[in-house]
Symmetry: C2
Subunit: 334 residues, 2 copies
């Protein structure tokens, strides 16, 4: 309710001085500043973000674009990011962007750039026009996951992820390995699954094995996706001895359906996932772990830097390391 002028009047100084004092700007005597601070929280004064964003052009908020709100991976990233930005006095505005196929609300770069000072795009495949608009609005943008051309990003090496998972199985002695991943309804612009698949194929070929098309199944990034794909796979005449799942959730679906269908893991079938989901250890799931929360933190820090220093000429690309966690869903083939 009380504005800056009331406070100023109350203390007996000008609004300008109050503004400077409260924001820690130089040019205010320690004495005056203290008096103002005191009166401020005594009167419960706090500057209106809308009002200050007008002259400054800064909103002190950063936007986060996520395909789905309620998916473990994205939440973990958001959690990491939120911690960092909050620490710097920024608020987080959450936008559900949807995927390229099911997009609840088209993200408008213009409104976005008015509301926030920077945006974090998580595995969201911006359309070409959106990317351009974002680019043009010259608002800072960093992606987590697939890098958009021209933008800074934080990610893992997905090809390598595919290689690591497959290599582990190969080392165990498997020769008949399937791959689950890639949303059939979202084949375009969501390169994480294709890259992991590429790594899988690469590792296979390096071992002198030719990938079999009927053992490479599309699967939505969810438990259900893994279940469906497994059922389909098991209808094939020949069964593999191992499966690389593009995510832990897919792997969980495999595990669940395998048990239901009487396929023993890792006896008859080995399974390796990707992510190290919070609950994966409960399943004893072997997985290629990636530091999810940390990626959120890094992305937030990178974004904050970009916002401060202006977009550097060269977009920065950070890759974080992954590590295979060998648990109980993988074993030598019988």
């Amino acid at each position: 309710m009380s504005g800056i002028v009331d406070l100023a009047a109350h203390v007996g100084v000008s609004p300008a001085t109050v503004s400077r004092a409260l924001r820690g700007l130089p040019g205010v005597s320690d004495n005056t500043r203290e008096r103002i601070r005191l009166a401020a929280d005594q009167l419960g004064y706090v500057a209106s973000p809308s009002a200050s964003s007008l002259p400054t052009g800064k909103t002190k908020a950063i936007g986060v674009l996520v395909p789905w709100i309620s998916r473990w991976f994205f939440n973990a990233v958001v959690e990491g990011a939120q911690e960092v930005v909050a620490h710097h006095g920024y608020d987080l505005v959450l936008y559900a962007a949807g995927t390229s196929t099911s997009r609840p609300r088209t993200i408008d770069a213009r409104v976005l750039s008015k509301r926030v000072d920077g945006v974090l795009a998580l595995s969201v495949n911006l359309s070409h026009s959106e990317a351009e608009a974002l680019q043009a609005s010259r608002s800072a943008l960093v992606t987590v996951g697939p890098a958009a051309p021209g933008f800074s990003s934080v990610s893992v090496d997905d090809v390598r992820v595919g290689i690591m998972a497959t290599q582990h199985l190969l080392t165990l002695g498997h020769r008949r390995i399937a791959f689950f991943g890639g949303d059939p309804y979202d084949m375009f612009g969501f390169p994480v699954a294709p890259d992991r698949q590429a790594g899988y194929e690469k590792a296979l070929r390096a071992a002198g094995i030719e990938p079999r098309a009927n053992w490479i199944l599309p699967a939505e990034f969810s438990v259900f996706g893994g279940e469906s794909a497994f059922v389909q796979l098991w209808q094939e005449a020949e069964h593999p001895t191992a499966i690389v799942a593009a995510s832990d959730e897919i792997a969980m679906g495999i595990l669940h359906m395998a048990r239901a269908m009487g396929v023993s893991v890792p006896g008859e079938l080995s399974v390796v996932g990707v992510d190290d989901h919070d609950l994966s250890y409960l399943f004893g799931l072997t997985t290629v772990a990636q530091p999810v929360r940390h990626q959120g933190e890094l992305a937030a820090e990178l974004l904050l830097k970009l916002m401060k220093c202006g977009p550097s000429r060269e977009p920065e690309t950070i890759q974080v390391a992954t590590v295979l966690i060998d648990r109980a869903t993988t074993a030598p083939p019988s």
Copy 2:
């Protein structure tokens, strides 16, 4: 970049007309309105939220207070809420409030009320002063979960939840039933666990069984909480034949540790959780399900209504129904 005056000039009308036209207000000829709309998205004009919030006092954003970003329950609620508010043109600002004991950042009602038009508080125990401040700032507030006195809320009947879970076990023939729940470090102000416990005790007594203090263990709302509590419980001289867990995550922890310790479920031990977590069916977990996403939707709708009609005299309290889902972790005692 381009402001309302540029657009107005471009079209050859006054800024006032542009403002009215774009917001669908009456008093603009259809012809003029269409011309303005056309020019608007041709020039990529969109009103600055900060600027318009100044005269109107509305920010078109609603704030969500969550104890933890990355916990299934809260995300599911947020997902429901986001869908509803986005549909009404509102943005969602996410605040990690922490619990009463570990609060990363104290939520300032004053800054909150400047940034958002209303707030959704999820299981967050506002301190008395915070509640007062929120009250005073006269910003709309609805809670999900424990109702704060004087505020509208959406929740389940937690006492009944406790009764349902316990009753199920009782009906199965169990007489020796333990209860896990309630963060030991957050005993104050987070009434969901106590209420569920109360229901547990009530059901027990109704069956002529006196609750045993050493079978009621505090447990953080997480897998780890369930694991720790189970280890502790099993050190007791006497073991129960069943456990009521205050959440599915706690139950998962029990399941995991039981298996590790060679306790068969449901052979030697029955377990029932609460929530129906997305992954619970993978464990065959018997649970008292609550419509989590729906609560988010209801809360958002209630909040929107409050914001439109002004805080009604009587705070509205919505309770949603719960249902026991009987899966595979419960059986008659052996």
